[in-house]
């Protein structure tokens, strides 16, 4: 039976009607502001009197790229992604495999591992900052007074490199639960008979993990790598709260904290828009490259 073209058109029309409200919101609240801020990025933008804004061409982009603080922020952001994405996936996968066993209290463990995900970024950022305080922090107390590993207190938050210890740890701790749930879903989609067949063939635990679990989990892992990388490149709240936006010496910025400072600290809306457009472009390229690379491997 064929659907008549007339009915087809009618259905298409209905579909568009259903899509229209959502698309209108998307246009109004996402595409519209995006286009507007793209325009801002080419101006010395005057927020109160937009009519007095001056066209500066690519100056906002050029000045940002030439700024050593921006370059340092890019390095910090990439380092955050390189450290936290693999760590979240490795730990999340390990937790998922454990939670996939038939252990007592499995549901309770799932809840416990997921709890950090639903806590507020602001609260846990402040908690981590508090734990890493130089003079009376919990971490220094454990390292110095309990374990005796250090002889003098470490001023974590005053050092442009050590500041990232709490920031990276927080990112990993907060992400593992979500990664584990996604991995768990992937694990449960792997047919049990494959594992059983391999076991009959004499494959050990390691062999089964590397030859059955991991290859079949690849689509899940590709998804995680892409999504977590996008998330890491957009990291912002923990850094803003723990470093107060770049302390010390503007050496600890992420790209987004710098964008915030340019926009709301210096009122340089043009530079802020330029930074966010460069980040968007970079995230887009990285995502496409990741999907291409990882998918090709998967097809083989």
């Amino acid at each position: 039976m064929r659907i008549s073209p007339k009915r087809d058109r009618k259905e298409t029309l209905t579909a568009f009607l259903f899509l229209a409200p959502g698309f209108a919101l998307f246009l109004l609240f996402l595409l519209g502001p995006m286009a507007y801020s793209f325009r801002i990025s080419f101006y010395d933008w005057k927020i109160v009197n937009p009519a007095k804004s001056q066209w500066v061409g690519l100056a906002n982009y050029a000045e940002t790229l030439a700024n050593p603080i921006f370059r340092r922020a890019v390095i910090n952001t990439l380092a955050y992604a390189v450290v936290t994405v693999p760590a979240q996936i490795a730990l999340g996968l390990a937790v998922a495999i454990l939670l996939n066993q038939r252990i007592r209290g499995r549901a309770a463990f799932r809840v416990i591992y997921y709890l950090p995900v639903i806590t507020s970024w602001v609260i846990v950022s402040l908690l981590f900052e508090y734990m890493f305080i130089g003079q009376a922090g919990l971490v220094n107390y454990v390292l110095r007074d309990v374990l005796g590993l250090i002889s003098e207190n470490i001023f974590w938050l005053a050092d442009p490199i050590l500041t990232f210890v709490p920031i990276h740890l927080l990112g990993i701790w907060k992400g593992v639960g979500w990664t584990a749930i996604i991995c768990l879903a992937g694990l449960q989609a792997i047919p049990e008979h494959l594992q059983e067949a391999a076991e009959v063939d004499g494959a050990g635990v390691a062999a089964r993990f590397f030859y059955i679990t991991l290859p079949l989990l690849r689509p899940t892992l590709v998804f995680l790598v892409v999504v977590l990388t996008i998330g890491a490149l957009n990291a912002y709240i923990s850094n803003l709260l723990i470093t107060n936006g770049g302390d010390p010496l503007d050496l600890t910025h992420f790209v987004l904290t710098l964008m915030y400072e340019a926009t709301f600290g210096r009122l340089d809306f043009g530079a802020g828009a330029a930074i966010s457009y460069m980040l968007t472009l970079f995230v887009f390229i990285i995502s496409v490259v990741q999907i291409r690379l990882l998918r090709r491997e998967m097809d083989i």
Partner: protein
């Protein structure tokens, strides 16, 4: 061609205006006098009894007050509304850290408040953005009020020849000294000169036990500012044209050298570099024998450490024998976009009235009216702050102040970390500030 275009535009605008005007008149038959027409100067002003309060006007007021201040503000609003029937004031409170972005978002979206109380260092920045209403020559009571307030806080509203606000409240930092620390060390009282201060700070320090003679909240300029100004430090020249010879001049270098020296000797807590015990907690718990802070500490300690005895003293005198400190506080401003400018001006001038200033003083807000000095209704601890205010100095009233603050902050960090000498760090800050001034 250009002129031709202009005429077309003008013609279109006029046509549109006529069209809209016609529509509006048809819809609401009202007298055509503009709503913001100045009151006739010669005609006798109608008394309130004769003219019934027309349509009530609502003006908005944004601020960043604390809990007790906000509660007190409600009483001020009630008193104002009682005296000015027909004007309602709607107040909205913000957290300090979110306030600037809230104001900017409001301005960008055409939803800015009519009036606001903002940090004195922001007034030139918003004035430069043309967001604020010029008050001199516009606000009827401006000249009278300007004569009554302290000149230092008033100056923070001045930008490019005009005033864009009035100082609503002021404050400064003084020395806080922990009596039990001093008594334990056999010291009679707080230091009176900077030399004595440096010596006492070291006597009261025991870094191995996290015990320090002096502590700063951070390296941002507000923290070292009392020591900086007392030592005779200057950031730029009077006319705000150059930092060379000022921020890196001998007095400024001496001020930062004193702090750097204290830090190196373990007499200044390392918390100022980030991630340490806060100054308020450290001082009350006896870890920091001396800190510099403002009048709000009385209320903070009342809540957090009710048994702690707060002791204030003037900032120790510098080499030239005078004490100094830094002026803080907030200005009341009217936004240029306000449609209720007349009512907003009434509200602003009421906030500076003796009545309102005294009401706010009850909760620790220092008035800006010089004629209230010595008023018996003011809290007793205001005396020391009012005395300190006589020589306290305002930071640079310039739209790029935040950036200048950043430059000095970074210089302070570099010298404390030993990356640069005090002179090198301040030379770099001077050249950075000069670049900001040149733009």
């Amino acid at each position: 061609m250009k002129a031709f275009n202009k005429w077309i535009v003008i013609a279109l605008v006029v046509a549109l205006a006529l069209l809209l005007g016609a529509c509006r008149q048809a819809a609401t038959p009202e007298p055509t006098s503009p709503p913001t027409a100045p009151p006739p100067t010669k005609a006798p002003e109608p008394t309130k009894a004769v003219e019934p309060p027309a349509e009530p006007v609502t003006i908005t007021y944004w601020h960043t007050m604390s809990d007790p201040e906000t509660a007190q503000l409600e009483k001020v609003v009630a008193a104002f509304e009682a005296a000015n029937p027909g004007i309602k004031v709607e107040t909205t409170r913000f957290a300090y850290d979110d306030f600037k972005s809230a104001l900017l978002t409001g301005l960008a979206g055409g939803e800015a408040p009519d009036t606001a109380r903002m940090d004195i260092v922001w007034a030139p920045e918003f004035a430069e953005q043309e967001a604020l209403l010029q008050l001199d020559g516009v606000m009827p009571e401006f000249e009278t009020l300007a004569e009554k307030v302290f000149p230092g806080p008033l100056a923070t509203n001045y930008w490019k020849g005009h005033y864009y606000g009035l100082p609503q409240n002021t404050n400064t930092q003084v020395l806080l000294w922990n009596k039990s620390n001093f008594e334990a060390a056999g010291l009679a009282g707080p230091p009176e000169t900077m030399e004595e201060f440096a010596q006492v700070a070291c006597e009261l320090s025991d870094p191995a036990n996290e015990q320090y003679g002096y502590a700063l909240g951070g390296t941002y300029f507000w923290a070292p500012a009392p020591v900086f100004y007392a030592m005779g430090g200057r950031i730029v020249d009077e006319a705000i044209t150059t930092a060379d010879g000022y921020i890196n001049g001998p007095e400024s270098v001496a001020a930062f050298s004193l702090l750097k020296d204290l830090y190196d000797k373990g007499c200044l807590s390392p918390n100022l570099l980030g991630g340490g015990i806060g100054t308020a907690d450290g001082h009350a718990t006896g870890k920091y024998a001396m800190i510099t802070d403002g009048p709000w500490m009385v209320d903070i300690y009342k809540g957090a450490y009710p048994d702690f005895e707060v002791n204030f003293a003037l900032v120790p005198k510098g080499p030239d024998g005078t004490t100094s400190s830094v002026v803080g506080g907030e200005d009341v401003v009217i936004f240029a976009t306000s449609e209720q400018q007349e009512a907003a001006m009434k509200w602003a001038s009421y906030l500076l009235s003796e009545e309102a200033q005294k009401m706010m003083a009850e909760v620790g807000v220092i008035p800006t009216r010089a004629d209230l000095i010595g008023d018996p209704s003011l809290p007793e601890y205001f005396d020391i702050f009012l005395q300190q205010l006589q020589t306290a100095q305002a930071r640079v009233p310039h739209p790029r102040w935040s950036d200048m603050d950043g430059a000095i902050n970074n210089a302070f960090q570099r010298m404390l970390r030993g990356d640069q000498t005090v002179q090198e760090a301040l030379d770099q800050a001077a050249s950075e500030i000069n670049q900001m001034l040149a733009q």
